[in-house]
């Protein structure tokens, strides 16, 4: 078709285009072969938005339309995108608008109103922190929390994993075990008490759970006082801006919001072998187990496995840990093995290179009797053993599979169910954010989830710019001999900097409080990893000894400030403590020098 020269033809063309623009919420002038056009059309498909494409190359007067578009928009190229009558531009501009959230805003339409400014799915560490902060900043906020019971029917209150089935009961039960050790030490310090010392599981369990009950209530009250609308219902997306909330009676209610934060956390993974869900427990059941677990098999070598196995042994129970390959994957292996060795020396049995095959019930009871069959990973050997309780702790899976993320268009890593986000905790769908344990490649720790949630709310509603810093996060594994660390493991430091560029200082030490009872000499260990290319800045901190959390917290702050080996040396220690060891570290690992300690 020849170019249109006359005015009526031009006016007609313009009207036609304008009509298209006016009548299509999303309109893309495109060419069927153009890869950029495909990209844009794919984006809308992903966002679950109906997009009308006008394929100029397939139309007789396509080039006339293109010329008129040039006149109308100043853009000659395709794709040429309009959303709700607003001209966006080409592919780059559209993708940028998507990243900025502008696209979403335009798609939502100006007069679209939502029930809430923010809906947070999951009332755990991250979700509660984020919702409270957002409400404090004047936003209308809803948080939904719902606990799907374990296969054995265990359930709990508001607050998520940490409070109910994580950090809190774990640390209190670890403390129970620490007190047991202290009692043994006490005799050496002259305390005299009856020989028979018993532990009552039920008393401990009730006391721990009473404390948790008060925390659950505290969270509930805080939500009321901060004007966060709390709903005890299971949430799932049915549209990008709409969720369905199902309460325990099966009643469904729908809510919409301008923005969403996903904070659904993780739940223990099962083995997928006969008898696992029927007869085994996980950490979700352990802390409220009505009876003492008795002789226990812990399957797995995660920190949860070692912590639980550790405190159960500390209560005087017969504990075996079945390990497929290594202890504490992801942690410094030298440290992990030292923590494991200490457990072994204190009566925990390790069954290495075995994987369970089936679990059968021999006898019901509180506790009952179970038979576990396992096979060796490197031979034909079969293990059969009888236990009262089998605790599975082989890892945790993100709760992202059943919350309608496909309906909202949120990307999930299909392999592990984790959600990839940018450095502002934003998913691929701009109005949907994610925090806490479900994030891909981030720390699974309560303070991290809280920090991320709080900072996210401040960025969204207070013009904040601070992002959550996932580097140099201190943490502690509460094995019987506690292990605290911050920064890189030795393996990771080697990989990042190379052998030649790091210096490792290390030392064994004997805590003063262990000397009189004469136990665990030269078992406690400290190690720092320094970057030689950067003034021996400390890039890895590792401590195996009592009160590791208390020790590591302070050094974590120092590392956040970029402490160097020289500054550590210039720090005056507090005597007599365990933490002071880091101010006097002289022996490098590369020198092979003697690191055993004797006296002051």
């Amino acid at each position: 078709m020849p170019p249109i020269e006359n005015d009526t033809g031009r006016a007609e063309l313009k009207t036609r285009i304008q009509q298209l623009i006016d009548s299509n919420p999303v309109l893309v002038f495109s060419k069927s072969y153009c890869p950029f056009c495909v990209k844009v059309k794919d984006l809308f498909k992903e966002l679950n938005v109906i997009c009308n494409a006008v394929e100029l190359d397939l139309m007789a007067d396509g080039s006339n339309l293109q010329d008129m578009l040039m006149e109308m928009t100043g853009q000659k190229t395709v794709p040429n995108v309009f959303i709700n009558k607003t001209h966006i531009g080409g592919c780059d501009k559209t993708l940028q608008a998507h990243r900025d959230g502008l696209l979403q805003q335009l798609l939502g339409g100006e007069n679209e109103t939502y029930d809430y400014d923010l809906i947070v799915i999951g009332g755990g560490s991250g979700g509660l922190a984020c919702s409270k902060e957002a409400a404090l900043l004047g936003k209308k906020v809803m948080v939904l929390d719902y606990v799907v019971p374990t296969p054995l029917g265990t359930t709990w209150g508001l607050g998520g994993t940490c409070v109910n089935v994580g950090c809190i009961p774990k640390k209190l039960m670890h403390q129970t075990a620490v007190l047991g050790t202290a009692m043994q030490d006490a005799r050496k310090f002259g305390w005299e008490f009856s020989e028979a010392v018993k532990h009552n599981w039920e008393t401990m369990k009730t006391a721990v759970n009473n404390y948790i009950g008060s925390l659950n209530w505290g969270y509930r009250v805080a939500l009321r006082d901060k004007n966060v609308n709390y709903v005890n219902a299971y949430a799932e997306f049915i549209e990008p801006h709409k969720i369905k909330a199902t309460n325990r009676r099966g009643k469904e209610v729908f809510h919409t919001a301008a923005r969403f934060v996903l904070a659904t956390g993780e739940r223990p993974r099962y083995l997928g072998i006969p008898g696992d869900k029927e007869y085994c427990i996980t950490s979700d059941d352990l802390f409220s187990l009505p009876h003492c677990p008795g002789k226990t098999l812990v399957i797995g070598a995660s920190y949860v496995a070692l912590e639980c196995g550790g405190f159960l042994a500390g209560l005087g129970l017969d504990v075996t840990v079945m390990v497929r390959s290594i202890l504490l994957r992801g942690f410094d292996q030298d440290m992990a093995n030292r923590a494991g060795e200490h457990m072994e020396e204190h009566g925990v049995k390790f069954l290495r290179k075995f994987v369970p095959v089936k679990v059968e019930e021999l006898e019901k009871g509180t506790p009952g009797r179970l038979k576990v069959t396992a096979k060796s990973t490197d031979s034909d050997e079969i293990f059969e053993g009888e236990f009262n309780t089998v605790l599975i702790a082989v890892g945790r899976d993100a709760c992202t599979g059943k919350i309608g993320l496909d309906k909202a268009g949120v990307h999930v890593n299909a392999k592990n169910g984790k959600i990839p986000v940018n450095d502002e905790e934003q998913t691929n769908v701009p109005h949907i954010y994610a925090i806490g344990d479900i994030l891909e490649g981030k720390w699974e720790l309560t303070p991290v989830a809280i920090q991320a949630g709080k900072l996210l709310a401040r960025r969204l509603y207070k013009g904040g710019t601070l992002k959550c810093d996932y580097v140099n996060v201190p943490t502690t594994v509460f094995t019987p001999l506690e292990y605290g660390c911050c920064g890189l493991s030795e393996e990771k430091a080697l990989e990042l900097y190379g052998q030649d560029n790091i210096e490792i200082y290390h030392s064994l030490f004997w805590p003063l409080e262990f000397t009189v009872p004469n136990r665990d000499n030269n078992k406690c260990y400290s190690k720092i990893i320094c970057n030689k290319l950067d003034s021996e800045r400390v890039v890895g901190f590792h401590y195996l000894g009592p009160n590791a959390g208390e020790v590591t917290q302070g050094y974590g702050a120092a590392m956040k400030c970029g402490i160097t080996k020289e500054q550590l040396d210039n720090t005056v220690g507090i005597h007599p403590t365990c933490a002071e060891i880091f101010t006097t570290m002289e022996v490098t690992k590369s020198s092979g020098g003697d690191i055993s300690q004797a006296g002051c």
Binding site: G153, T155, W217, N232, S288
Partner: protein
């Protein structure tokens, strides 16, 4: 829910931190979406909502509130003044205060009753009445909150709290 609020008498707020009634949100405790059809669980559900049976003492000084409706009927619409004891199973001091309060009420020989509200079972009520910590005790007459305290009190203090309520 709305109709339940409607049948309530109008009550006035005379104590700080007692909030206007609003549509109750949901309970504090999360439970199953579907009733578990799995084989009889090995473990009894944790912190399950075991409902205490109503106290059947000789003179029935106190009763356990069963639900919102029951609360409206027996507390808000009560002819007698009512002392409401908001308590929790996990709360140590509640276990001391409860019996003490019952004793103080018993002394009044039926001129006042006592309603016991487990805040985990009846979270909405506790939230609505501004309970932040337990034990919280509210004195109500004719549906009006006329007094309240939080925490432990000794017998004498409880006696005068109750006497004040019945106007002695």
């Amino acid at each position: 829910m709305a109709h339940r609020l409607l049948v309530r008498r109008i009550w006035t707020v005379s104590v700080r931190d007692v909030r206007c009634p609003r549509a109750p949100s949901s309970a504090l405790y999360s439970t199953s979406l579907c009733s578990s059809a799995s084989p009889q669980p090995l473990l009894s559900p944790r912190r399950s909502l075991t409902r205490a049976l109503p106290v059947t003492s000789r003179r029935q000084v106190s009763f356990n509130v069963q639900d919102q409706e029951d609360f409206t009927e027996r507390v808000i619409n009560s002819e007698l003044p009512v002392v409401i004891d908001f308590h929790a199973q996990w709360c140590g001091p509640c276990k001391i205060l409860g019996p003490r309060l019952e004793k103080a009420i018993g002394k009044q020989k039926g001129r006042v009753t006592m309603a016991k509200v487990d805040i985990d079972e009846h979270t909405d009520l506790a939230i609505e009445y501004g309970v932040s910590a337990v034990p919280t005790v509210i004195a109500m007459r004719g549906g009006d909150v006329i007094d309240q305290f939080v925490g432990i009190k000794d017998e004498d203090q409880l006696d005068s709290f109750v006497k004040k309520l019945i106007g002695q």
